[in-house]
Symmetry: C2
Subunit: 344 residues, 2 copies
Amino acid sequence: MKLNLSSGKVDMSHGSGGRAMTNLIQALFVKYLDNDILRQGNDGASFDMPIDMGADRMVMATDGHVISPLFFPGGDIGSLAVHGTVNDVAMMGAKPLYLAAGFILEEGFPLTDLESIVASMASAASAAGVAIVTGDTKVVEKGKGDGVFITTTGVGVVAEGVNVSGDRAQAGDVVLISGSMGDHGIAILSKREHLEFDTAIESDSAALNGLVADMIGAAPQIHCLRDPTRGGLATTLNELAAQSGVGMQLNESAIPVKRQVAAACELLGIDPLYVANEGKLIAICAEEDTVNLLGVMRGHPLGRDAAVIGRVLEDRHHLVQMQTRLGGQRLVDWLVGEQLPRIC
Amino acid sequence: MKLNLSSGKVDMSHGSGGRAMTNLIQALFVKYLDNDILRQGNDGASFDMPIDMGADRMVMATDGHVISPLFFPGGDIGSLAVHGTVNDVAMMGAKPLYLAAGFILEEGFPLTDLESIVASMASAASAAGVAIVTGDTKVVEKGKGDGVFITTTGVGVVAEGVNVSGDRAQAGDVVLISGSMGDHGIAILSKREHLEFDTAIESDSAALNGLVADMIGAAPQIHCLRDPTRGGLATTLNELAAQSGVGMQLNESAIPVKRQVAAACELLGIDPLYVANEGKLIAICAEEDTVNLLGVMRGHPLGRDAAVIGRVLEDRHHLVQMQTRLGGQRLVDWLVGEQLPRIC
């Protein structure tokens, strides 16, 4: 039975393991994601051990994507599922090579939407220089899922001499970010709440592995990299402070926030420092590497607005503090409770 | 805020990226799955490139688990999520090393059930000799998921000289299975439908990497390995026939099916050859390796009932045919449509 991509819907048979599932895999996944490894057609992917890349360590990261809505200004769950995991691998100081994708589909989901999502994954993967080499498809009954969830897992390699980890921040280090905060979360929220602004706010969803490669090329001794996704900049810096056993002092006026994002945050009563980003990174490096690193970041299209936003301090309480725009001092705590559900 | 494991429930804040999520990760995932690599505490896992294992290829496989019910005779979604992916990696002829686990939790899910599931994953991983080295947690609103979905991804290494793939079956090869068919699917269906039998039917859910290691040790030139999960033996053999461009001739009376499974299948009007297994494998090898391989399989606790069930033939239609118990000949087609939803 041929798959009707234009008006068909996911039904339980697409998760059966039988003929209907094979048709779906061929008509959608293989069609768009085609590569030599995926085409092997086994239940997994087999590839040469990446020992010819000047690497001696490997990295593995996984990320489930449950974003709602599935399509949003600047991307969709497909591109996000590629970017999210490529970025997690890159934040380990690694070069991402291969992705696996696991789909959990809800019965009744339009195949045409699924096709858009898979096509979007394909183009995101191709732009990021990674291949989706294996996958899995499951179907749950209507009302037991929400359209589509995508869990992607990535592997990559770390070049010799690179040692990036969240526990390496030291007193005296400098904290940089690659660009403006809050774009992704506010784009999603605006779409969800049907808010209209003068200028459309787009998600910053992007693959950061190219930027990271440039940064590591210039300063292989970078201490920490992390993307401030769920929980935003504030929570991610608190994670790093706790992991490294240090404190941080930030300067609010140095943190770039786009005018329209700041306006939307004010309207919604949300602090942009707690809003998720999907195409930005935090870097922590020794003071002597700062100028060099900042220059490299600003030279990359995804780091044009890179900025030094603070410093690492000794602090046995591992607090993140910030000098506000008005000159006061405030504590930047972890996100407590829940701000924007299903943002990624 | 401390997590109340005995009476607490998953709430949206456990997916926020903030403090509540960190507490959940520490109190459950790190507690049970603890290992040096997971403890790194980054958004991914970093490990030495496995080049000292006499290996030159790597394997990656992913599997989403949406089984209903979550707890069943012989296992639960946690052990299944480990076994399913360990087996997919092993079926590539590889030694599984590391797993990543992505959880999609439904708001309101009891934390005590989640704890049981994570504990079960830990003991399944430990028994299989693999480590869960990284993970991710997302939460969706009540009614947008179904308790818990777990997507696991595994990586492993293939020893030099091993070349197992679904496209390597050749006319003249012999088809073996490692044991009885249908146990997993019937165990799930019985629990779901509240069927009572004289003897409880248990899932065969098990990690097959130990059995595969023994088989590859004895006959490194095995052509194909695959686990007959969704779609059962019939569908999996059709997949292999299509992938290799061959036909197959089976002998029904050689296919082991437990007495109580056969009885349940008769009662339910289901053919055991289409019922999912989670602890069995199909092996296809050259005729001269058969006796050796069968001996090794029968010497392993998970292969005691191993049997030769058929042969590979030239057939440009790639049909799987079977001599029935009564001496007739029937076509064993792909599973069409849907038999047992959410069986894994």
